[in-house]
């Protein structure tokens, strides 16, 4: 399906009847069926991929058809699954019971702002599940049914779940504003788990998960390709700086294991971020290794189910143990860090074979990572800069007027706000913040996280990313910002598409790319270009 041109979509977003433009649907929300059309849903998982995961009900099916080839007892499976999850997660129970529908969350969701679809208000997205919960698991619902807001589990409800739990990027912005901290991410995760039980899932999540499991990374790069790619990056670095980096792979006895999302090794503009890492580690002489087996930071299990998340995450500790490293350093990634921060130690700890991370350069002990033994690259770099261990020439970034996009997970599920800013301000002379309602804990999602950065739903992505794009546009117009920096690989991929669409002259980079640009390496040649082979300001010729 062709995507609307940006100006046309812009008019449509601001003027076409939707709840954001003041139009009210004529029917109650429970009477508006989910309608699947080309372009408004992500493709179902391929049969062989579902089989690979040993997930239930592998088959060929079409969301646009009215026969989803569900198992005969699919309703019981869903209700039983819901019961199990209510018993396993207090968060789910509380979030099912406590909502007063005050509407504080309603206009906080980027999907709602961009589509005006009422079911993208977090309260209604949750209500899709809550109505079934009420009907089958509460006394009031059993007695009063519809009057108490209960709904029977029907195929129509299932369709809504598939549509709207895959129009949520689990960014948690709504949970910041909810008076009870109701976190739609939790509800979406449960909803997706339930859908998996009857074989309703999407390929763009399950195939990367399968790749991560088998090859170590979601791109499906085999070990030698992974290594080759990094060596290509080293060639480029040598051409630009005259310095040869010599990274090692699967090396036993290294002090530090470095894990970053594989997109950094493979895809633009992530590769420039990876070049930044390589330069940084070379600069400080870090004793570190990459792993081809644990070559993915991102965890597509987070978008699938708990078991998958644990399974994929387990590789990091397994590899750290096998290689005998002291601690793990993690690259720039959003949901990777959400999993590392909130789930890793619980699921796969205790990491008693590792040591409390200590920077070999500054001696700083990272007490905040005393148990997981994993440090974020921004924390690590900020500490190096603070101790004056890096030789930096921020002028080399003078052709960049940067702003910073707080990636949802590091911001709202970790509290990593100042470290990347500190790094940025030290490596680049021009930095401007976006408006305050769009940064830090109020940051807006790129619109394509949680496995939704697939091309078949491009218009939806551009709509969902509109709030972020709008804030970028603001600083572009006000301060001529031309670089949107972030600490997330999904962001680097999807914000690039988003900016190409809404703000064509703004590029996207990882914070470490700007670090790499600014690093003055010992014995380097005079630099004429940045890591993208782009001319530096004042060096054009």
């Amino acid at each position: 399906m062709a995507i609307m041109k940006a100006d046309k979509l812009g008019v449509s977003v601001a003027k076409a009847p939707s709840m954001m433009t003041g139009a009210i649907p004529k029917k109650d929300w429970w009477d508006v069926p989910a309608d699947f059309k080309p372009g408004n849903y992500a493709y179902p998982a391929k049969q062989e991929i579902v089989e690979y995961h040993k997930f239930p009900n592998p088959r060929l099916w079409d969301p646009e058809s009215d026969d989803w080839k569900l198992p005969e007892n699919w309703k019981e499976i869903i209700l039983q699954g819901l019961k199990e999850r209510l018993d396993k997660f207090r968060s789910l129970k509380i979030f099912m019971d406590c909502c007063v529908r005050c509407g504080a969350c309603a206009d906080k969701c980027h999907f709602f702002l961009g589509t005006g679809d009422p079911k993208n208000m977090p309260v209604l997205r949750a209500e899709l599940l809550r109505s079934v919960y009420r009907n089958d698991f509460t006394l009031a619902g059993k007695l009063l049914g519809k009057m108490a807001g209960g709904r029977e589990m029907t195929f129509g409800v299932l369709k809504e779940w598939f549509m709207y739990f895959y129009q949520c990027t689990e960014c948690r912005r709504c949970s910041v504003f909810c008076p009870y901290g109701i976190d739609t991410a939790e509800i979406t995760m449960m909803g997706r788990e339930l859908l998996h039980l009857v074989g309703v899932n999407i390929n763009w999540i399950l195939e990367p998960a399968a790749n991560s499991n088998r090859t170590g990374n979601h791109m499906g790069l085999q070990p030698h390709t992974f290594k080759d790619n990094i060596e290509y990056l080293c060639d480029d670095i040598e051409e630009i700086t005259g310095i040869r980096c010599n990274p090692t792979f699967n090396r036993k006895g290294a002090e530090v294991l470095f894990i970053t999302p594989s997109a950094d090794v493979f895809a633009e503009p992530g590769i420039y971020t990876a070049m930044g890492y390589l330069l940084l580690f070379e600069h400080i002489g870090l004793d570190y290794t990459w792993s081809t087996y644990a070559s993915e930071g991102g965890n597509f299990g987070l978008f699938t189910n708990n078991e998958m998340m644990k399974k994929l995450n387990g590789k990091m500790y397994a590899e750290a143990k096998r290689l005998g490293v002291k601690w793990i350093l993690g690259g720039e990634c959003g949901h990777m860090w959400r999993v590392l921060h909130q789930y890793m130690d619980t699921m796969n700890g205790p990491a008693d074979f590792l040591q409390v991370p200590t920077s070999p350069i500054t001696g700083t002990v990272f007490e905040n990572a005393a148990s997981t033994k994993m440090v974020h690259i921004s924390e690590f770099t900020a500490d190096l800069i603070k101790h004056g261990k890096l030789k930096l020439d921020p002028k080399r970034n003078d052709h960049r007027i940067a702003t910073y996009h707080d990636s949802c997970n590091p911001a709202r599920a970790m509290g990593l706000l100042e470290e990347p800013r500190y790094v940025l301000k030290n490596v680049c002379n021009n930095f401007h913040e976006m408006p305050e309602n769009t940064i830090r804990e109020s940051t807006f999602c790129c619109g394509s996280g949680t496995g939704l950065n697939t091309d078949e739903i491009m218009e939806l992505r551009m709509r969902a990313g509109l709030p972020r794009a709008n804030a970028v546009k603001y600083v572009r117009e006000k301060h001529a910002v031309n670089m949107l920096s972030c600490v997330c690989a999904i962001d680097r991929a999807t914000l690039t598409s988003l900016n190409n669409y809404w703000n064509p002259d703004v590029e996207v980079c990882g914070v470490s790319e700007l670090v790499g640009n600014a690093l003055v390496m010992e014995g380097e040649k005079e630099r004429e270009t940045g890591l993208r082979f782009e001319p530096l300001a004042g060096m054009e010729g």
């Binding site: 644990k310 909130q342 789930y343 990593l416 100042e418 500190y422």
Partner: protein
């Protein structure tokens, strides 16, 4: 229908109360039997719901972090919005429960041509929610005067403060007016704002109407129909001391009032009103953000879920690895 049905339901409750107050034995039923029953259901139901919640574990530490986390010593942490200690969590919960901090953050988004999104501060919901809850609390506490003899000092002080404007006789309580105003605001907001109207269910209007009915009958009884306070206090004090009796003539409005209060108490544990207890138990707000510092235990964590092993990985890719100069375990 979403508004009308709950409205009719409350009118029906009022009618039941009115009729029951005037049939033989009805007053004893509403004034004595029902309050005990409703109070028991309220307490029992409340405790049951909280225990049901508590029965489910909190497998993961998932606080929503609304500020800078504890990290390097020279980076200023937001100790309340991103707490790394128990004390921080207590402060966060205190502000949440007593001052509705999250609602205070509320903004309103508007879409303009361009397209351009604009966010404005929006504190009305916060303000009126706060007024509603605090006047409700004051009113409940004021009622303690009816259940205690002698009247405790703080209740008398509260009453005095509440009526310090000294308007009318009996003295008019400001909280009564604020309370009615806040309920009206919360109701009108639900009706006037199209998206809030769209998300509202009968279960959202019913408690509003019910509480409005309670407030209104209370006010009518005090200022208009003038119920016999002495007789009422005899009854309520009797209830509190487990020796209830109805003496003298009490206005039917009183029985409607009591009947509606009983209905609210019974309704409470089965409804969204349980947010009163739930707010304390919300894992995104009441957890310490120290997930990387201290290991959190998940009682149902399954140790049998293992990653795809390195050995299997190497078996599949060994030749490629050897060719690519990547170390292998088995040659």
């Amino acid at each position: 229908m979403r508004i009308l049905t709950p409205f009719i339901a409350v009118l029906a409750l009022i009618a039941v109360g009115l009729v029951a107050a005037q049939v033989p034995g009805g007053q004893a039923l509403i004034g004595i039997v029902l309050p005990y029953l409703a109070f028991a259901l309220f307490l029992g139901g409340f405790a049951y719901r909280v225990m049901q919640w508590a029965k489910s574990p909190v497998p993961f530490r998932i606080p929503t972090t609304c500020g800078q986390a504890n990290s390097l010593p020279w980076i200023k942490q937001n100790k309340i919005d991103c707490p790394s200690t128990k004390l921080g969590v207590i402060a966060r919960m205190f502000l949440e429960v007593f001052l509705f901090r999250s609602l205070f953050r509320n903004t309103k988004a508007e879409m303009h041509e361009g397209p351009k999104l604009v966010y404005g501060s929006s504190k009305f919901l916060w303000l009126f929610a706060l007024l509603f809850h605090y006047s409700f609390l004051v009113i409940v506490l004021r009622h303690m005067r009816l259940f205690m003899d002698p009247v405790p000092g703080f209740v008398a002080a509260l009453e005095f403060g509440d009526g310090f404007l000294q308007i009318g006789a009996p003295v008019f309580y400001q909280t009564d007016a604020i309370f009615l105003g806040a309920i009206a605001f919360l109701f009108l907001r639900r009706v006037m704002l199209s998206n809030i109207r769209y998300i509202s269910l009968p279960a959202d209007y019913f408690p509003l109407f019910l509480i409005f009915g309670i407030a209104l009958t209370g006010i009518l009884m005090r200022y208009v129909f003038r119920a016999d306070v002495v007789a009422i206090k005899q009854l309520t004090l009797g209830l509190a001391t487990l020796s209830p009796a109805i003496v003298g003539q009490i206005s039917p409005v009183f029985f409607i009032h009591v009947f509606l209060v009983c209905a609210l108490m019974v309704y409470f544990p089965f409804s969204k009103l349980m947010h009163m207890a739930g707010v304390f138990m919300s894992p995104t707000r009441n957890m310490i953000n120290n997930s990387r510092m201290v290991r959190h235990i998940n009682p149902w964590n399954d140790p049998n879920i293992k990653p795809h092993s390195y050995a299997a990985y190497e078996d599949e890719f060994r030749e490629f690895m050897k060719d690519g100069g990547i170390p292998v375990e088995k040659e």
